[in-house]
Point group: C2
Chain length 347, copies 2
């Protein structure tokens, strides 16, 4: 099985993006972000996104030279126009802005619109937690070419996207990072099942008539993915659509009509205003111990802390290398050829 060291993958991703006209510093940040997701075991948010990004650049839907504009600002809030740059770059800038404001004001909220795919939300909340801030990110709406794929609880048609939420908390040595879609499965899972001719697990999708099905084609034939956790997950997806869609995304005047502009809201606060970080982290360590000592339920090996699977995957893949399927290598090589470069795949 061909595996690769992460610096090599970063090099390949950077070269491809540069060949597509992305400035070096931007290409390097986006490449590191994609490869970090590979290291964390989330290849759905990794290298396979590159051909899509290159397409967006060529269609002038993604401007690799975009620089953000702060549209409205107070000491504790900001509204940012991302001007359709890379989501990874804009989300980092928005989180930096929120952390700076929270450092001065104790708490801050920053909204962004006109941004492309941001990748894994947890990357940005983890940035804030590394600086000892608590951070939430809500990412809603969808770019104009995306179609809704998630139904409300009790509904038979999709009304919005997978509307993810991330939370990270500065818990000290063992980090706490929660990052999830408010749909029961990611859209990519249905795509994988279609490509492999497999069925989906029960209770995940329904067909165009609102009947339960395991057919992965249903999602793109008028059906929809269900929200996670019934009415509760639906309610959270709705919160994301309201805050990161209607409140932030639709703030872009030319997109107000469609209501499906993509947007993100960053909420950050300094936990030190409630309790000094050291005793807080001592309490957290005891809480983590209580959770880790919990005996496993039937069918489980152990109880995991949110963020723990990613940490383990990173340790393992930095040791053994990252597996990249031949199909992805070949697709990237093809993109490279079209852009006039040859990729150095040395397993």
């Amino acid at each position: 099985m061909p595996t690769y060291r992460f610096p090599q993958l970063e090099q390949i991703a950077t070269s491809l993006l540069e060949a597509a006209g992305v400035p070096s510093d931007t290409a390097s940040i986006v490449a590191k972000s994609l490869v970090l997701n590979e290291r964390f075991g989330h290849s759905s948010h990794g290298l396979l996104r590159i051909p899509y990004y290159v397409q967006l650049i060529q269609k002038r839907r993604l401007d690799p030279y975009a620089s953000i504009e702060i549209v409205r600002e107070t000491p504790s809030t900001a509204l940012i126009d991302g001007r359709w740059g890379f989501g990874q770059i804009i989300a980092r800038q928005a989180m930096h802005c929120a952390v700076d404001k929270a450092r001065k004001c104790g708490i801050a909220a920053v909204g962004v619109y006109h941004l492309n795919h941001v990748g894994r939300l947890g990357e940005y909340t983890e940035m804030a937690a590394a600086e000892e801030f608590v951070a939430f990110v809500f990412n809603g709406g969808a770019p104009e070419d995306a179609i809704p794929n998630v139904a409300p609880f009790g509904g038979a048609k999709a009304v919005w996207g997978t509307n993810p939420i991330a939370v990270a908390i500065p818990t000290g040595e063992s980090s706490f990072s929660l990052d999830f879609a408010t749909s029961i499965i990611a859209g990519g899972k249905a795509a994988v099942a279609r490509s492999k001719g497999m069925e989906l697990p029960e209770g995940c999708v329904m067909d165009a008539e609102g009947r339960p099905t395991q057919d992965p084609w249903a999602v793109i034939q008028g059906g929809a993915i269900l929200p996670f956790g019934e009415h509760k997950g639906y309610g959270l997806g709705f919160v994301v659509e309201l805050l990161a869609g209607a409140l932030i995304g639709a703030a872009a005047p030319e997109l107000a009509e469609g209501e499906m502009a993509t947007g993100a809201l960053f909420l950050v606060f300094d936990p030190g205003h409630f309790r000094p970080i050291t005793p807080f982290q001592t309490s957290v360590a005891k809480l983590f111990q209580r959770v880790k000592e919990c005996p496993p339920a039937e069918g489980f090996q152990e109880v995991l802390i949110p963020g723990e699977p990613e940490q383990r995957s990173q340790l393992a893949s930095d040791k053994t290398g990252i597996f990249v399927p031949d199909s992805v290598c070949e697709e990237l090589a093809q993109v490279g050829r079209k852009l006039g470069i040859t990729l150095e795949w040395e397993a």
Copy 2:
């Protein structure tokens, strides 16, 4: 079926609390809060709580004369010691404090510890939304006499309580109010099933060995309730335990050891810093229309907006009266007799 008008129930609840030594203005606020929950269809957070509150007062665990103390404060944050007063009173004061701060700073966070049962969290987020603020409340930990009843995902033992979350958004005419436990069922549901000799639905609880069961006694015999939505709901319950438990609740020095002090965190912001309220609410109205027009899935009549069931229940119960089971009337009458008053139950 004996039904009662809500002003009469407020009168009865106020009299009982006054007879237990609660000052009139406090008794009236707590009574209105309990009866509002009855009107909203949440009798689990209604009149049946009174005997427990009276007990807490008699055991000096609840101080009806307590006044809060602001322990630490900045223009945008506050840490409040509730001094074991009524949760309903302290939560209102904390939310007022958060709204005042958010009015000046755009966004605010207020934490509270040493508070008794706060009732329905949505009551406080809805207060903020009525003043055109977005509000989140996290309520974690448990008072010292409560035992954990919710297991982590993949675990066989309970590690914390039902750790609820509420969010309200000022959406204009039709309000949006989400309020849920991070457990798959409320603890009260198992109690009801025990008292009626019924089984619980599949997939809600497990026994002391971590095996699935439908026996409602399992929860109090070493078993536990599962989190909602598998690892995602577990992650959210963990966030509540970290922010409203370890960060806020355990801020009480004498309770730091047990880590199970009850606490609440209020996050409030002014959506007007992102988009003026009128165009935001116009977008929201369109989004609500899109959701309401969604055809129902198999087994459903229609799609509901979070908060809609409560609004309908209020309209209906204000018209027809509120049903109070004879057992509850009798229990309250008994509490009244012990306190030397006779309740006027006139259906």
